[in-house]
């Protein structure tokens, strides 16, 4: 039996949305008395999922289907509702196109920080440092503050760290595709294949049918916070497309 990388049990997520002024002390007291300005939004309903080590797992769904919320719950950034259990077996890194670095720090400093948090000692980071920089093609900008980087450069740096600092699980939010130029895309694709062999687990959240089709071994379709289906790309992509058609009508 292959090992489990990610276990999700009974994951539901309700956001409790407050009207703006109730986040002050006065607002808090008023809302205790009036009970009016709290609204609840259900983002996920009873998601159960097991992802095996080494799987390339895709998550599809339209905007607002709960994909990113699910990814953030996996990353431990958001807690699930009561009763939900998240178990991550391995060190993970979330890869999204937003800035995941401190913009005031240089690439060098961000590399050390991220790799250290992933569990590497300073000595180990010293050894892989040049591989990271070379892979990200940022040799000339190592000591430049990341705030001057383009989105593509940031994405490359993030990916290079995740790969070389040996994160076990990649949580990718619309990350792959559209990042970097052709030569970098080629490189990252090559790594994806190699990494599958090495037993890394990749969660790939995307709208892009192409990348899902090409890389994923299993796909989950989410709609309005519920699982519509889990299966091979061949099974799930048509379902996704028919949902899109319904939406357009």
């Amino acid at each position: 039996m292959s090992q489990i990388a990610i276990e999700l049990k009974n994951i539901s997520k309700t956001y409790s949305v407050l009207d703006k002024d109730s986040q002050s002390l006065k607002g808090k007291i008023m809302s205790l008395i009036t009970h009016t300005n709290r609204r609840e939004i259900k983002a996920l309903t009873n998601v159960n999922l097991e992802i095996k080590k080494g799987e390339f797992f895709g998550i599809m769904g339209h905007n607002g289907s709960g994909k990113s919320t699910l990814l953030r719950i996996m990353a431990g950034a958001y807690p699930p509702d009561k009763g939900g259990v998240v178990k991550m077996h391995g060190r993970f890194m979330l890869l999204s196109l937003g800035l995941g670095f401190n913009p005031m720090l240089t690439a060098r400093e961000n590399i050390y920080l991220n790799a250290s948090i992933l569990g590497l000692t300073l000595k180990q980071i010293g050894v892989i440092f040049h591989d990271i920089v070379a892979f990200a093609e940022l040799d000339k900008f190592v000591d430049t503050q990341v705030k001057y980087y383009s989105t593509g450069m940031v994405a490359r740096l993030k990916f290079a760290i995740a790969v070389h600092a040996d994160a076990d699980i990649f949580l990718m939010d619309e990350f792959f595709g559209g990042v970097g130029d052709a030569s970098f895309k080629e490189k990252s694709e090559a790594v994806f294949h190699k990494s599958l062999v090495e037993g890394r687990t990749i969660i790939h959240v995307s709208h892009s049918i192409k990348t899902i089709e090409k890389h994923c071994s299993r796909v989950m379709l989410l709609h309005q916070g519920e699982i519509v289906g889990i299966g091979s790309p061949e099974e799930i992509i048509p379902e996704y497309q028919s949902l899109s058609k319904k939406k357009r009508k």
């Binding site: 986040q23 002390l25 950034a77 991550m88 890194m93 979330l94 890869l95 920080l113 250290s116 300073l122």
Partner: protein, 261 residues
């Protein structure tokens, strides 16, 4: 030299991580500003100058060695207040880490304290120089200062945890902090000697651990007196109780820190 010392320390990933975060925090705080690192020293010196002039010329303070009395009070209080201020924005400033990578939230607090502590070391070195030049008193009890410092560190961690957690739910924490800061600033005896108070007012040194910490620090550093061990014990106990409350509140209520940002 530094490299050699670092080589000698056994590798510990967690300590390294906390150190890295602290170092970068410290660097970014003064990055690119005109006077850079000097701000760390300049701020308390400026305060010292203003208070010294006001309290010697206007109020004619009778406190012995008033300059050093004031200096150690200001830098210890500034260490406390800065740490508290940092903690109220800690989830916002560290969002980029919390969202993307698995990290023990408590490490953020340890590193935040370490970063502020680096600034404190600058100021404290200046104080030690001043003490050496202007003060001819010496006593071995000065070596007990680390005990006082440990008490302060416990109190700071407790305060940070409580403020950080409250800041998740109350966006007007800044204003609440302003009130508390003002009360503490005046109630900790930074520019007057609390031991001159009599009767029930003297109890403040037991109720407000900061006041007791400042008194003990001055006794041993400026006046070469023995430490008031009863006061120290009570302050330490109060700080530990605060810390336990802080840890409990933090564990129970900080899970939604990011989604409420």
């Amino acid at each position: 030299m530094l490299e050699k010392i670092i080589d000698w320390i056994p590798e510990n990933n967690r300590l390294e991580r906390i150190w890295l975060m602290a170092k970068f925090d410290f660097v970014t705080r003064y990055y690119g500003s005109f006077l850079g690192l000097f701000w760390a020293l300049l701020k308390p010196l400026f305060q010292l100058g203003v208070f010294y002039i006001i309290f010697t010329m206007v109020f004619e303070s009778k406190t012995e060695n008033f300059l050093l009395f004031l200096f150690i009070g200001i830098i210890l209080y500034q260490f406390f207040a800065e740490s508290a201020t940092v903690s109220m924005k800690i989830f916002k400033t560290k969002k980029y880490l919390l969202e993307n990578i698995q990290i023990d939230k408590l490490d953020l607090f340890y590193s935040a304290i370490a970063a502020t502590f680096l600034g404190f070391i600058f100021n404290f070195t200046a104080f030690v120089f001043g003490n050496f030049l202007l003060n001819d008193l010496f006593s071995w009890s000065m070596l007990l200062f680390p005990l006082v410092l440990i008490n302060l560190l416990i109190l700071i961690l407790a305060t940070q945890l409580i403020f950080a957690t409250i800041s998740i739910y109350l966006k007007d924490i800044d204003n609440i902090w302003f009130v508390i800061n003002t009360l503490l600033f005046w109630g900790s005896g930074i520019f007057f000697d609390l031991s001159s108070l009599t009767g029930k007012a003297l109890l403040i040194k037991y109720i407000n651990p900061l006041a007791g910490i400042l008194m003990n620090a001055r006794s041993i550093l400026v006046y070469a007196q023995p430490m008031d061990m009863k006061l120290f014990a009570i302050n330490l106990l109060t700080s530990i109780v605060f810390l336990l409350i802080g840890l409990w509140i933090f564990k129970k209520y900080s899970a939604k820190a990011l989604e409420k940002l």
